[in-house]
Symmetry: C2
Subunit: 315 residues, 2 copies
């Protein structure tokens, strides 16, 4: 099973390419929560999310032969942009299959990082089918967004940096969707700071990971209706095993709590955080009565959100 040495190795590989993102603090939020909060800000990571860490760690380990073939992913989200950027930095061709209703800004960003975008219909089936056809035809190497030990190890480097920088933590809060970030975070935390409690946070409206963890079997994510678009996915076999071993608890938050956390982050910390990235703070706020005087880490996973669209829905 993927372990702390893999996270160390990943950190070595990404060292000159990923940003060591800042740890931010806010005396207002400390006062509000009665604890000491350390935000690991992956919204400032290259391509706007933690995903770049895992993507780069994975592509940089491909064999010479695999590099020549090129990589492919089907994603309309942060994995697409992260893989496009990682592949371009390493000099590997990337093809991204995106639903044809993807926001133009994400299509542009993915192309901007040098990837070829191939459109498909808006269903998951179509995404998989189009990707499969392209793999069949060109022998591209499929890079899974989370259910891959290299992706997990890369994702774990964010918590590794956080703990190297602030040392002791009593708690760490992390979003969970497919479980890649949570897996990596939990490995880094339980190894470097074993007494730390690892809390995963999920939208109530997409609570498949919560139920999977409770019942010991992976539930599918069926049409989840949440603003946190990065967390609509379900756990994978690889991430589920790591999570079962290392995570202490999964809690859920409402849509209102997610938007409230986003607002707090931009009003008081001046940071643009995407809904999926704000769920960890939402979870902390929900549990604050249990956190008095504790040192708490919060992983802010990304900042790729279209504010104009966000406010046009809100106003």
């Amino acid at each position: 099973m993927v372990g702390i040495q893999d996270v160390y190795d990943a950190h070595e590989r990404i060292r000159d390419y990923a940003l060591w993102t800042p740890v931010m603090t806010s005396s207002t939020i400390d006062k509000l929560t009665d604890c000491q909060v350390f935000f690991k800000c992956e919204n400032f990571q290259r391509a706007g999310a933690f995903k770049f860490r895992g993507a780069f760690n994975t592509v940089s380990q491909l064999t010479e032969e695999e590099r020549k073939k090129g990589v492919i992913a089907h994603s309309s989200g942060n994995h697409a942009q992260a893989l496009a950027l990682a592949a371009s930095l390493i000099g590997v061709k990337a093809t991204i299959v995106m639903p044809k209703n993807s926001p133009q800004v994400k299509v542009n960003a993915t192309r901007g990082y040098g990837a070829e975008v191939v459109f498909c219909e808006n269903s998951t089936e179509s995404r998989v089918q189009v990707a499969d056809e392209l793999i069949e035809k060109h022998d591209y190497v499929l890079i899974h967004p989370y259910n891959d030990e290299r992706i997990i190890a890369g994702a774990g480097t964010a918590a590794l940096e956080l703990i190297e920088e602030v040392e002791d933590l009593d708690y760490i809060f992390c979003p969970v969707g497919g479980g890649g970030l949570l897996s990596g975070t939990s490995i880094a935390t339980k190894n470097l700071c074993p007494k730390s409690v690892v809390i995963a946070v999920e939208p109530e409206n997409a609570d498949d990971a919560f139920r999977s963890f409770r019942d010991g079997k992976i539930y599918p994510s069926v049409n989840p209706n949440t603003i946190a678009d990065g967390l609509r996915t379900q756990l994978g076999e690889v991430t589920f095993r790591v999570i079962q071993k290392n995570v202490d608890s999964i809690i859920t938050v409402t849509e209102e709590e997610i938007v409230g956390a986003m607002r707090l982050l931009w009003e008081r910390m001046k940071m643009v955080v995407e809904p999926s990235g704000a769920v960890s703070l939402a979870g902390l706020l929900k549990m604050k009565d249990e956190l008095y005087d504790k040192r708490v880490g919060v992983i802010i996973s990304g900042g790729n959100t279209d504010l104009t669209e966000f406010f046009s829905q809100l106003l």
Copy 2:
């Protein structure tokens, strides 16, 4: 005249209270501008703007007698919150005179930092009159938002930190309103990095500093119609002298260019920056043809903007 030693002294005084804010970079913006840009992010400063540096530097130098009297300012902007916080940290009573139409969020923030808020009518005359009455009655010490050497020296510590961190700069871009930040920035820059060109940026719709600099006399700022609310003030006698000595050029930007720079900062750098804070980037973008391959510093002055209000006007 206030000089580099005052900036060093200010930095010593604020060391344990102000944040050494991060210098952020963006490969997207570097690619867009064909130069290397270093953003000094005072939107992440305590109370959300560079103003805390000068306010703390000033209050910490008051005599024991002045401290007992308490301080006062008339401001609806960042100076109010900065002074409230600085005074509260030093244990001095602060009174802030605010127009009664001030946004509730600013009133709450100022009170949240422990200041007493006294409301006045919405005119400048009323602000000054109400403050004068309170000074007459209570003997409060008036703290000017910019036309004060202690405020200027404090403001200069942001550029001091930037230059200590990134060393050589060919250019530095800074917003100008009353000129406190620009004065401090120009002193730090011309002393620590003499070959650096200091460019001030002002909204076209509030171009009194541009005209004052050109004609060698201070023009008043008459009903300026700009979204950059922090830059609606006019130069003071003290700041004007420093600026005449140290600044190379003042350029202006349109309202559209200001909003465009704000958008670039939140979309690509995930930072909430207020309009006044984004004018420096707007100026850089306007001059980019002259900056090829240069190392450019940009002072982001603050992040106190109400996004909900911003988008409700925009959408």
